[in-house]
């Protein structure tokens, strides 16, 4: 008996709907086996990993905090990926946005005004967009591979931030610790409700994702993105410019990542420090694909990945397992999502007959 993957004539509608859920179920199942092997009760482990964080207002806030940058970046990336532009450098654009936005509260720290926060957010978007403009320019005019250029720019951004907070922007009152000044209260993104720490950044993320969804679904621009992504030649016949699309998608995703960066720095950290992101820009790539490059799906995917972070801490504390469990879960999830997506284009066929095997054998 063999298992064969056979290409479907048409993509399966059924599997394109249920594949993420199937992946989720498999992840939970495999996770349960992992907990059992670790000698923990899988049911209670999975409960405190996936359910408990949803029962507390406090941890819902924490999930929203974690999800906001993932959704915002992931939504921007979906436009890139749909139009066949592979921006892998959202992490760098996140940092560039954070730095550009922080110019206002760090350099002009004596200026107190209600304009501070809006300016920061605008600067953040411009910073992220400008940083994404580099790979966009290189691709549009030099025909370089944007995967490489955008990825390498991440390290430049990280080291530039590192230099800034150790050098020119180092706070005079932090005992030489590499952090910038604390942002003044008017430079802090306000909290949403008083019951927890979640801030306006989550609203930005949801509004941006819904906005993109409307654009993708109801506007010519959305059509243009899809057409150019599927077939550049067909797009050209329709009068769409793939070069303009490079600029559009890269600047848009850069601006979104930049906004996420300044929101994180302003709303959660309250200052610049050498490391401001636990890899949001890269995790957002998982989020974008888990959400099937659909902005609404990305909201759900972002919330789910945020849950794995918060839940991972919960099991660490209640069961005393290693913090690596979170990473394992995220890896499992991506693995199962990608493999389940295979079922959209292919079907599994069990071959019982030995006929083809023997003919293959005879062909030697």
């Amino acid at each position: 008996m063999r298992i064969e993957l056979e290409r479907r004539a048409n993509p399966s509608l059924l599997f394109s709907v249920i594949s993420p859920f199937l992946a989720l179920a498999l992840t939970v199942f495999a996770g349960g086996i992992m907990f059992a092997l670790l000698g923990k009760d899988p049911v209670s482990a999975l409960y405190s990993f996936f359910i408990e964080p949803l029962l507390d207002i406090w941890s819902l806030h924490e999930i929203a905090i974690k999800a906001a940058p993932l959704i915002l970046i992931g939504a921007g990336l979906s436009v890139c990926y749909r139009s066949n532009n592979w921006n892998i450098g959202a992490e760098g654009q996140f940092i560039a946005g954070a730095i550009a936005g922080a110019i206002v509260p760090v350099v002009f720290h004596d200026w107190h005004s209600s304009l501070v926060l809006p300016l920061m957010l605008i600067f953040g978007m411009i910073g992220g967009a400008l940083y994404a403009a580099i790979p966009a320019f290189l691709k549009a005019h030099m025909n370089t591979n944007e995967i490489l250029t955008s990825l390498m720019l991440v390290y430049i951004a990280q080291l530039f931030l590192d230099w800034l907070v150790r050098g020119p922007w180092r706070s005079p009152d932090a005992y030489n610790f590499p952090v910038s000044r604390d942002f003044a209260p008017e430079a802090i993104l306000p909290e949403l409700v008083s019951s927890g720490r979640a801030n306006l950044g989550f609203v930005f993320a949801v509004v941006a994702a819904v906005g993109l969804w409307i654009m993708m679904r109801y506007t010519l621009k959305g059509f243009e993105i899809t057409v150019l992504g599927q077939s550049e030649r067909a797009g050209r016949f329709a009068g769409f410019s793939s070069r303009r699309m490079i600029w559009f998608s890269m600047l848009l995703s850069g601006a979104f990542a930049g906004l996420a960066g300044i929101s994180e720095v302003s709303g959660v950290i309250g200052k610049l420090q050498p490391v401001i992101s636990p890899g949001y820009g890269f995790t957002a790539i998982i989020v974008a694909f888990l959400g099937r490059l659909n902005p609404l799906g990305i909201i759900a995917a972002g919330l789910f990945l945020a849950l794995t972070y918060v839940g991972g801490e919960a099991v660490q504390l209640t069961l005393g397992v290693s913090d690596k469990v979170t990473r394992v879960f995220q890896g499992l999830l991506l693995f199962f999502v990608l493999s389940c997506d295979t079922l959209i284009q292919y079907k599994i066929r069990l071959v019982f007959s030995r006929f083809r095997q023997t003919t293959e054998g005879g062909a030697h």
Binding site: D162, R166, Y175, N176, P278, A314
Partner: protein, 356 residues
């Protein structure tokens, strides 16, 4: 004044009982680690302290912990999670948890917090630290005795007073033996990064140092020193396993006794916010066995240690000049703690500029 203290302690006692009662039968004493509990250095030393605490009180307490908690927004969530889970006392064991600890402590006035190596405290936030510079001084004495070139390499983390103080103490100890002794410093800009620490160690060895010491958390520099055949000092934990032929001694953080004392105070309801800064004589740090050195050096090291323990010798005793040549301490003068805790300058003999 006495009345106020009495009122404070009784209310603290009442709160203590309330906290103990709400946490079912076992009191929860919680720990937040910046690294992995098996890092072989800083965090492992805290975890050994935690185990000592657990063994001491047995079934009376639970000691949950979170490891690899990054300094930043995640720290605040991790600490808040601890506070919410019913911890009576939370030890936050890295400098970078300071602001997060203070923030969470404001929200949970009934939970007690102890922050290691910081400078901010509150009614329910105590700080604790060890006078590591005492051990550094002894290391300097040994280094000066053993170094052929009169040059040691120092892998430093961040230019905060704690670290600068250690470098100065090391140099001053070395200069008590060899006034011409010099030290080269590399800032790894991390507490915990085996790769970066190893790179820094290699760079220092390439620059010609023949003794290595570190103020970072992993055993990577010790391993590099072993490979290159020079001697080194361990940090935070006894690193003899990483360099059986290499380690001269190590400053071993022995937090266990402190953790037991403070937990007892919580159980008794007598816990108060304090700023603890103890040294060798209190057992908060100990020196790992003096190995891989001639007997006379070993004897000198032991004598120096004994003098520091007895209080006969303060590592920062003048005359000491600053790096720029200006006077700091006159002959026989001893530095006050305030200057040490805000230390932002090198003394003469350090071959480095503080990052500006």
């Amino acid at each position: 004044m006495k009345k106020i203290i009495l009122a404070l302690t009784t209310s603290a006692a009442v709160l203590g009982f309330a906290a103990a009662a709400s946490a079912q039968d076992k009191t929860k004493i919680c720990f937040i680690y910046v690294g992995s509990k098996t890092d072989g250095g800083w965090t492992q030393a805290h975890d050994i302290g935690r185990q000592a605490l657990q063994d001491h009180f047995g079934d009376k307490i639970e000691t949950p912990f979170l490891e690899n908690v990054p300094e930043g927004p995640d720290a605040e969530r991790a600490i808040e999670r601890m506070a919410r889970s019913g911890c009576a006392l939370v030890f936050t064991t890295s400098f970078g948890f300071m602001d997060a600890t203070i923030k969470v402590a404001e929200k949970f006035p009934d939970v007690k917090f102890e922050h290691a190596t910081g400078f901010k405290s509150a009614a329910n936030v105590a700080t604790y630290n060890a006078r590591f510079y005492e051990g550094r001084y002894i290391q300097g004495v040994i280094a000066a005795k053993l170094s052929q070139k009169g040059l040691a390499g120092y892998i430093a983390s961040f230019p905060i007073p704690e670290v600068v103080m250690g470098i100065n103490s090391f140099v001053h100890g070395a200069q008590s033996v060899n006034p011409e002794f010099k030290v080269k410093v590399i800032w790894a800009n991390t507490w915990f990064d085996p790769g970066k620490e190893a790179d820094a160690a290699k760079a220092l060895v390439d620059q010609g140092v023949d003794i290595l010491t570190q103020h970072t958390d992993t055993t990577a520099p010790m391993q590099v020193a072993s490979e290159r055949g020079i001697k080194a000092f361990g940090q935070a934990s006894d690193m003899i396993k990483a360099g059986p032929e290499t380690q001269l001694t190590a400053i071993v953080d022995t937090w266990g006794a402190y953790y037991i004392k403070r937990t007892q105070a919580v159980l008794d309801g007598t816990w108060k916010s304090e700023q603890m800064w103890d040294g060798l004589k209190d057992g908060i740090l100990t020196m790992a066995p003096y190995t891989n050195m001639p007997d006379d050096v070993k004897k000198l090291a032991e004598e120096t240690e004994a003098k520091i323990r007895s209080g006969e010798l303060h590592p920062f005793t003048g005359p000491i000049k600053k790096q720029d040549g200006s006077d700091w301490l006159a002959d026989g003068a001893v530095s006050d703690d305030g200057t040490l805790l805000g230390m932002n300058f090198y003394i003469a003999g350090v071959d480095d500029q503080l990052p500006k």
